[in-house]
């Protein structure tokens, strides 16, 4: 456990950005959010997201993890503190960012390929090019044959993969995932976690992912930010540090130790809140 330590945590093989203007890290500095009705969703969160890392925000409902993700993505503004994007020469404008949500949010009247191409279409990319890019992204998420089908004809896991492909089609530098696999069964979720890891290794973007699954956090996270509710806050930053997770990892003692570590941090933080109504 090392709270807020600044460190580059780019796994081997990932194309680390080398240009002078490149993003090095995202700094979440004392970020708090009080809603208009006075509810304190997030007290104060501080940690760093190294560029190219897969950072997971994990915690129970009401710990402010989704609020924090939205603030990192610019969908919401902190009432205190700031989110900064830092390069070698100081603060940068927000990077190209894509979101995937807990629901696939596909347009039911559009084919899967047209759904995946939607962000490019909205940005004015010509039809031929955007369909090519959508097709190659569908291939990456193993949906190459499903492009012409409608979302209603797909399984939940396939819809979620289409949603991830849509997020990645713009080649974002920062991918924000809000409990993307939370509505899926455990086995499908494990498969999609492996898919996410291989996409991350291949494409090298920075990923911040929100989940309430400790097992998922320990498995995919190069860095895990553990959060607790009432009020929402960061209680620990853990690095499980599994370089190349494979499905067999989930059955090892090392993995059990990593999840136990996260659970311990959560349990310690939750004790005082346990007595509250």
């Amino acid at each position: 456990m090392n709270l807020g330590a600044a460190e580059h945590h780019v796994a081997a093989g990932r194309p680390a950005a080398q240009q002078p203007g490149a993003l090095r890290r995202i700094e979440v500095a004392g970020v708090g959010r009080v809603f208009e009705d006075g509810f304190e969703a997030l007290a104060s969160a501080s940690f760093e997201v190294p560029a190219g890392s897969l950072t997971v925000l994990v915690g129970p409902s009401g710990c402010g993890k989704t609020t924090l993700l939205r603030m990192i993505g610019g969908l919401d503004s902190p009432t205190s503190g700031a989110v900064r994007f830092l390069g070698d020469a100081g603060t940068l404008p927000p990077p190209r960012t894509a979101f995937a949500f807990q629901e696939p949010r596909l347009l039911p009247w559009r084919s899967v390929a047209a759904n995946v191409a939607l962000p490019l279409e909205l940005a004015g990319v010509p039809r031929g090019e955007r369909l090519d890019r959508a097709a190659s992204m569908l291939e990456r998420v193993q949906l190459a044959d499903a492009g012409r089908r409608l979302p209603g004809q797909l399984s939940g896991g396939m819809r979620m993969r289409a949603s991830i492909a849509r997020a990645l089609v713009t080649e974002p530098e920062l991918l924000l995932l809000d409990e993307p696999f939370g509505a899926l069964d455990e086995i499908t979720r494990h498969a999609l976690d492996d898919m996410l890891l291989s996409l991350h290794a291949r494409l090298g973007m920075t990923v911040v992912m929100v989940t309430h699954s400790i097992v998922e956090a320990a498995y995919v996270g190069s860095q895990v930010v553990v959060m607790a509710p009432a009020p929402g806050r960061v209680v620990a930053t853990v690095r499980p540090g599994f370089a190349q997770p494979t499905p067999a990892l989930r059955a090892t003692p090392e993995f059990a130790a990593a999840t136990a570590g996260i659970m311990r941090s959560l349990a310690q933080a939750m004790v005082p809140a346990g007595g509250a109504p």
Partner: protein
């Protein structure tokens, strides 16, 4: 396929035939004057003898109704879209639109003659007035019910307001708009005939509304029934076209068309 069509058509056809038989039997049994209730056979005869006149009337009324319906559909969808995009306009205009909907058409129909003169324009205006509101309300409701998650998706991808309308809100509202159009189709025919009562030319080429009033004046109740039958047929055709359009648009993705 034929079996299924038969199964679908049999119940309504059987009920209609039974009702016609009961009607004919009642006319035979109680023998009211022809003027009060004509027998189904008499209506069938009127339909046959006046077929050329009735067909011409159906064509004229159908054209006016279709024109009025198309105008109402266009205005209703555009106005509904504008109102759904602006809270201010919606608060300001929707109550007025609702109020206008309450104005009895029959009461203002003579005014339409003053404004539009004798002829098809009055019938069309009358059709627009009655069929506009269902389209407007259905469009507005459909667009306002757009999934907020999808709206957020469009915002995250920096869609323009026009992109959001064309690629999200309009397709999202289509099931609701189709329902509004179905209601409007029947109303457009009613509106047209009310317009024809007060503002159409009599003569060789008379629309259904005029056929009804002149048949009443001649105590030809059988002809009135025949004309009403033709008017219903016109409404049914318009309704069918709208339903078919809805099915074509929705069959691939919406539960209502399966």
């Amino acid at each position: 396929m034929i079996r299924r069509a038969f199964h679908a058509a049999f119940p309504p056809v059987a009920v209609v035939l039974a009702l016609l038989a009961a009607w004919q039997a009642a006319v035979w049994a109680f023998a009211p004057s022809e003027f009060l209730v004509p027998a189904p056979m008499a209506v069938a005869r009127a339909l046959r003898d006046g077929s050329s006149q009735l067909l011409a009337a159906a064509w004229l009324t159908g054209l006016s109704a279709a024109a009025g319906f198309a105008l109402a559909a266009g205005i209703g969808i555009v106005l509904g879209s504008v109102l759904s995009a602006s809270r201010f306009l919606m608060r300001g205009l929707y109550p007025i639109a609702t109020l206008l909907q309450m104005v009895p058409l029959v009461a203002i129909a003579p005014l339409l003659v003053v404004w539009c003169g004798y002829g098809a324009r009055t019938s069309i205006a009358s059709a627009v007035i009655v069929s506009l509101f269902p389209v407007l309300a259905a469009t507005l409701d459909g667009m306002r019910s757009t999934d907020p998650g999808l709206v957020e998706l469009f915002q995250v991808n920096r869609a323009t307001r026009l992109q959001r309308w064309w690629k999200l809100e309009l397709p999202w509202a289509i099931p609701s708009i189709v329902t509004g159009l179905r209601i409007a189709a029947g109303l457009a025919v009613i509106g047209t005939i009310v317009g024809e009562f007060v503002g159409a030319f009599a003569g060789e080429d008379a629309p259904v509304g005029i056929l009804i009033t002149s048949a009443l004046r001649e105590n030809r109740t059988d002809m009135v029934f025949a004309a009403v039958f033709v008017a219903s047929a016109v409404g049914f055709v318009l309704f069918g076209v709208v339903s078919l359009l809805g099915w074509v648009l929705l069959r691939r993705w919406h539960a209502s068309a399966r």
